[in-house]
Symmetry: C2
Subunit: 135 residues, 2 copies
């Protein structure tokens, strides 16, 4: 199977497959006589795994770890779970930060008339940066 076929079937672009191989995330696949990479069904499944894992926001490093655990029949689910928990924690932290930003922005947008005149609470707030407005 050519790279573009496996790319389409897995949802990982050919560009990225080559890149993942080059950084060692994926073990290099066999080449045909003409130098073309040659993939099988297992590769489709593996790349789908990568794709899904990326979709859940895991870094490529984490994807590598998860791939290794996936392949390791003697893994402990504890390790997998720990990895997922840590990532979940990161996500939740980032969500919390973004929600704080979102709240602030909503207030500011709300306070701004949005008309032809220059007076603008948004700019005022940005200019008055250092002090934290009392929530």
């Amino acid at each position: 199977m050519n790279i573009s076929t496996v790319a389409e079937r897995s949802g990982v672009s050919a560009k990225m497959i080559r890149h993942y191989e080059s950084i060692g995330l994926l073990t290099a696949t066999d080449r045909r006589d003409n130098g073309y990479r040659d993939y099988g069904e297992n590769d489709v499944a593996m790349l789908q795994f990568v794709r899904r894992t990326r979709d859940l926001g895991f870094s490529l490093e984490e994807v590598g770890a998860l791939l290794a655990l996936w392949r390791d029949r003697r893994r402990s689910s504890r390790e997998v779970r720990r990895l997922a928990e840590r990532h979940l924690g990161d996500i939740e932290t980032r969500i919390a930060e973004m929600r704080a930003v979102s709240r602030t922005l909503r207030k500011l947008v709300h306070a701004c008339k949005g008309d032809d005149r220059p007076d603008c609470p948004i700019l005022d707030d940005l200019a008055a940066a250092p002090r934290r407005p009392p929530s």
Copy 2:
């Protein structure tokens, strides 16, 4: 005022101040005879504005636009508000996406025993990627 002083007072690192200048986000400041950049109080305020704007997640391009509006006494608050609204929309979209990821991860983590054994719903789910599990 030297760059490290203005950096400390504004919360923008000296490295970044130089960088912002190099990409044209900031107009180049005056130099002393020895070639050192020289800053005044206005620059502190301006960099604080940049810092705060960055903290709210605006891109450098948007920071530039906001800086220009801030300086333009004939601006319309409409323009400022539009910019802020667009950014707010982006943030909210991203939050929604991350919350979906977070929900999925929470379910998976919950389903995984996290013991010494290899059975792991997390890996199972990642492997079964393509289909969307019914929520």
